[in-house]
C-alpha cells in the first residue's frame, strides 16, 4: 500500500502516503494521515485556527512532519496576518528527521527538551509572555499526552535554587555569593526581607511592588 522506511534501532519509522508524502510513525503511531496528510492538515487547521484568528502568536504542540504547520502558514499568508508561530516537539529524533526530509521552516521550533528545561529556555518564556493561542496537533498531543499535560500544569518553585538556574549566575559572582547565604529552597520573597538590603535585593522588592501595581491595575 505504501513504502516504508525502517531502522530497527529507532522508535521512528517513515512511511509514505498515497500522495507519496513522508509520514513519521513513532513507536507504531502514525502522526499524519497515511492517505493525504495535506488534506487532513487543511481540515484540521480550518477548525483549529478559527477561534485563534485574533492572536498574534501561536504555539503548536507537536511537530510531526509539519503538514499542519505548513497549512497554518499558508492560511496566515492568505489572510495577510503577521502571526509568529512556535512549535514544541518533545522528541528530538522526530525534529531531526523533519529537518533531514522536509527541511527547516519559517517558524521557531524547540525540540527534545524536558518540561523543566523548557521553562528555563528564554525564547520559550519570551514567547509565552506574548500570550499565544495554543493549537494541539492531535496525533502528537495524544502520543505525548503526559508531556503536554506536565507542560500545561507546570508550577515554578520561586526558590533560591531556581533563581540560580534561571539566571545562570556565574560561580562566585556577587549575587551568587549572596544567595549562598540562603538555603536552596528559600522562597524568593523571603530573601528580600533579609536584614540588610543588598543591591540586587532591591530588585526583588521592586518586583514585589510592581506585582502590587499590576494587581491594582487588574482590579
Amino acid at each position: 500500500m505504501y513504502q516504508q522506511f525502517q531502522n530497527q534501532n529507532s522508535s521512528l519509522q517513515i512511511a509514505y502516503s498515497r500522495s507519496n508524502l513522508p509520514v513519521p510513525i513513532w513507536r507504531g503511531v502514525q502522526l499524519h494521515s497515511i492517505y493525504d496528510p495535506i488534506k487532513e492538515a487543511e481540515n484540521f487547521i480550518t477548525s483549529a485556527f478559527a477561534p485563534l484568528r485574533e492572536k498574534k502568536n501561536l504555539l503548536i504542540f507537536g511537530l510531526g512532519f509539519g503538514y499542519h504547520i505548513a497549512s497554518l502558514l499558508k492560511k496566515l499568508n492568505e489572510e495577510g496576518l503577521q502571526t509568529t508561530v512556535m512549535v514544541i516537539e518533545p522528541e528530538e529524533e522526530i525534529y531531526r528527521k523533519f529537518l533531514e526530509i522536509i527541511g527547516p521552516g519559517s517558524f521557531k521550533i524547540i525540540a527534545g527538551k524536558s518540561v523543566r528545561d523548557l521553562y528555563r529556555d528564554q525564547n520559550f518564556i519570551d514567547f509565552l509572555c506574548k500570550k499565544p493561542g495554543i493549537i494541539r496537533h492531535p496525533a502528537s498531543f495524544n502520543l505525548h499526552v503526559e508531556y503536554f499535560k506536565e507542560l500545561l500544569s507546570y508550577r515554578a518553585t520561586n526558590t533560591v535554587a531556581e533563581l540560580r538556574e534561571i539566571c545562570e549566575l556565574p560561580k562566585n559572582s556577587e549575587l551568587d555569593c549572596l544567595l549562598g547565604n540562603f538555603a536552596p529552597d528559600t522562597h524568593l520573597f523571603e530573601i528580600a526581607k533579609y536584614e540588610v538590603m543588598e543591591q540586587d535585593f532591591f530588585l526583588m522588592e521592586m518586583l514585589n511592588a510592581i506585582s502590587a501595581t499590576v494587581k491594582e491595575g487588574r482590579a
Binding site: I125, L188, M197
Partner: protein
C-alpha cells in the same frame, strides 16, 4: 559633563509635565547628557523630547505576566528586570526619581547603591524610606496627607534641585515635517475661510481620563457654540486616537451641522497642531503640558476642586475652575470662557467678572496660583489656606518670610514655645532614662507635636525632621537614642533661628530682650 538619569514611571501627562524638569536641568547644567527611564507603555510620550540622549524602558506588562505565578518564576521576572537595567548601568552623576512611588524608590536604591547621587526618594539598606533633602521629605511626609496641595511635585523638585525660577532653556520637541506641512495647509484654509477679520483658532480638548474631569456633551456643545459665535474666535476640536472620542466628535459635529473642524492625532502630530493654533482650551492634563512646553497659549478648565493645585502648567497660564454644584445654567460660564479665550489670545488682562460657579486663577512658578476672579467665599478661603500653607513651608525650608506670616507671628511664636517646651521635655526624659526602650523613643517623638494642629512653619520643620530621623533608626536602641538626642538639639537650634527671623522681621525689641531666657534653656539642654 554630567550624566543625568530621570526616572519617571508614570503616565503620559506626568511625562509631559517632566519637560519642566528637563528644561531646569539643562538650564543648570548646560552640557549635561540627560537620559530618561520609563515604562514601555509610556515611552511614546517621552519620544517627543528631542534633547534626551537616550531612553530606557522597563516592560511592566511583561513583568506583570512573569509575576502572575503559575509556570512563571519570580526568577524569570528578576532576570528580565536585571537585563533591562543592564543597559542603564550605574555610572550616573545624578539620578532624579520624580515618580515618587515605591517601585521607583527601589529602582533608585538599586541604581544609586552606595552613592549619594540621587534626588527624590529611595530605600535605605535597612528598608526605610530615605529622602534626598528637606523638600522631598516634606512632600512625602506631610504633603501626601494635605487636602490642598501647596506645591506641585514638579515645584518640589525644582526646589530640591535648586532651579532658577526664571528658566531660560526651552525644551525642544520632536516634530514631523510632514505633519507640520499638512497642519499649515489646513490652517491657512481655515484662516482664509474667515479672512475678513483677524480670527484666532482655539483648539478644544474636552475629554479627559474620567467623566468628572471631562466636559459633558451639553457643556461641550455650549462651549463650542460660544466660541463659534465669538467675533474673532474659531473652534477646532482635538480628539485622541480612540473610538470613544471619535464617536463623541461625530455626534458633536452632527449636532453642529458638520461645521466643526476635528483633528485626530498622536503626540508627534499634536505638536504640529499645537504650534499652529492660537490657543488651547483643555480639560486634559497631558495635552496641557504638551502645549505648555511649546509656549502655546492655553486656558485650562477644571471641574474638580480637589485637583486644582496639583499639576500647574507653565508660568502665566490661567485656569478656570467650574464648580458644577454651584452652576444653574452653563451658558454664562461658556460665555465667560469664550471671553477669557479672546482676552488671552489678544494679550489683554483677564479682568472679566466670573459668573456663579466659575473662578479664575493664574499660575506662576514663583508665587503659585493667584486668584484673579471668583464670586465664591469658599474658593477665597481655599485659596487663602493654600497661600498660607505655601508661605509656611517656604519659611520653614527656605527661611523666606512673607508678610502673610508676619501678620500671624504672635500665634506662631506661641506655637514655637510649645514645641520647644515639648523638645526640652523629650530631651530630659530620654537623657534621664538610662535604659530607653524603642517604644519610649517612639512615644517621645509623637509627643513633640503641639496641641494646635493647624499648619505652621514650626510644625512643618518638625515633621520633616521627624521623617528624616526615623529613617535613620535601626534595631539598635542605644544608637537610636543617640540619634534622637542629636535630632532634638538640632531641632531646637533650627527652631530658634526661625523664631529669630520672625522677631527680626517684626522689629520687636521687647521680644529680642527675651534672648537670655532662650540661652538659659539652651544651657539646660
Amino acid at each position: 559633563m554630567k550624566r543625568i538619569l530621570i526616572i519617571n514611571l508614570r503616565r503620559f501627562g506626568d511625562i509631559f509635565y517632566s519637560a519642566q524638569m528637563i528644561g531646569g536641568l539643562l538650564d543648570k547644567y548646560p552640557t549635561a547628557e540627560i537620559y530618561y527611564l520609563t515604562y514601555q507603555e509610556s515611552v511614546r510620550a517621552a519620544h517627543v523630547f528631542s534633547q534626551l540622549q537616550g531612553l530606557y524602558t522597563i516592560d511592566r506588562e511583561k513583568l506583570g505576566i512573569l509575576l502572575k505565578g503559575g509556570p512563571f518564576s519570580m526568577a524569570h521576572a528578576f532576570k528580565e528586570l536585571r537585563n533591562c537595567l543592564q543597559n542603564v548601568g550605574f555610572e550616573w552623576d545624578l539620578i532624579v526619581n520624580i515618580s515618587n512611588c515605591s517601585v521607583s524608590a527601589f529602582l533608585t536604591s538599586y541604581l544609586s547603591h552606595a552613592k549619594e547621587n540621587y534626588k527624590g526618594i529611595r530605600y535605605s539598606t535597612n528598608g526605610t524610606l530615605e529622602f534626598s533633602d528637606d523638600w522631598i521629605a516634606w512632600a512625602n511626609e506631610i504633603m501626601v496627607d494635605l487636602a490642598i496641595t501647596p506645591f506641585s511635585y514638579m515645584e518640589i523638585f525644582q526646589k530640591s534641585l535648586e532651579f532658577n525660577s526664571n528658566l531660560q532653556t526651552r525644551v525642544e520637541l520632536v516634530h514631523s515635517k510632514e505633519h507640520d506641512i499638512s497642519t499649515h495647509n489646513v490652517f491657512s484654509k481655515l484662516h482664509d475661510f474667515r479672512a475678513s477679520e483677524k480670527v484666532y483658532v482655539v483648539a478644544l480638548q474636552l475629554s479627559a481620563s474620567t467623566s468628572d474631569k471631562s466636559a459633558s456633551y451639553e457643556e461641550a456643545v455650549q462651549l463650542i457654540q460660544n466660541i463659534f459665535d465669538h467675533q474673532n474666535l474659531y473652534p477646532l476640536l482635538l480628539v485622541g486616537p480612540s473610538e470613544n472620542e471619535r464617536v463623541f466628535a461625530r455626534k458633536l459635529n452632527a449636532d453642529l451641522e458638520n461645521t466643526l473642524f476635528v483633528v485626530e492625532s498622536d503626540f508627534i502630530g499634536l505638536n504640529s497642531v499645537l504650534r499652529t493654533v492660537d490657543l488651547l482650551l483643555t480639560v486634559d492634563t497631558s495635552i496641557k503640558h504638551l502645549a505648555a512646553i511649546q509656549n502655546t497659549k492655553l486656558l485650562e478648565l477644571q471641574f474638580n476642586t480637589n485637583l486644582l493645585f496639583k499639576m500647574p502648567a507653565n508660568s502665566g497660564s490661567p485656569v478656570v475652575l467650574l464648580n458644577r454644584e454651584k452652576i444653574d445654567h452653563f451658558q454664562p460660564c461658556a460665555q465667560f470662557i469664550a471671553d477669557c479665550c479672546s482676552h488671552i489670545v489678544q494679550n489683554k488682562s483677564l479682568s472679566l467678572e466670573a459668573p456663579a460657579g466659575a473662578s479664575l486663577f493664574e499660575y506662576s512658578l514663583e508665587h503659585g496660583f493667584s486668584l484673579i476672579k471668583t464670586g465664591s467665599q469658599e474658593i477665597r478661603e481655599m485659596h487663602a489656606y493654600y497661600s498660607y500653607q505655601r508661605a509656611c513651608v517656604t519659611f520653614a525650608l527656605e527661611l523666606k518670610l512673607e508678610s502673610m506670616l508676619c501678620n500671624v507671628s504672635k500665634e506662631l511664636l506661641a506655637e514655637y514655645r510649645e514645641i520647644l517646651s515639648n523638645i526640652l521635655a523629650a530631651y530630659r526624659e530620654i537623657s534621664q532614662d538610662g535604659e530607653a526602650s524603642a517604644s519610649k523613643i517612639f512615644n517621645a517623638i509623637n509627643k513633640l507635636e503641639p496641641a494646635n494642629y493647624n499648619m505652621s512653619p514650626f510644625k512643618t520643620l518638625l515633621a520633616v525632621r521627624k521623617g528624616q530621623v526615623q529613617s535613620r533608626f535601626s534595631n539598635d536602641v542605644e544608637s537610636n537614642r543617640k540619634i534622637f538626642k542629636e535630632f532634638l538639639l538640632n531641632a531646637k537650634d533650627e527652631f530658634a533661628d526661625l523664631k529669630q527671623l520672625i522677631i527680626n522681621k517684626q522689629g520687636s525689641v521687647s521680644r529680642r530682650v527675651r534672648i537670655p531666657t532662650q540661652e538659659r534653656e539652651e544651657y539646660e539642654i
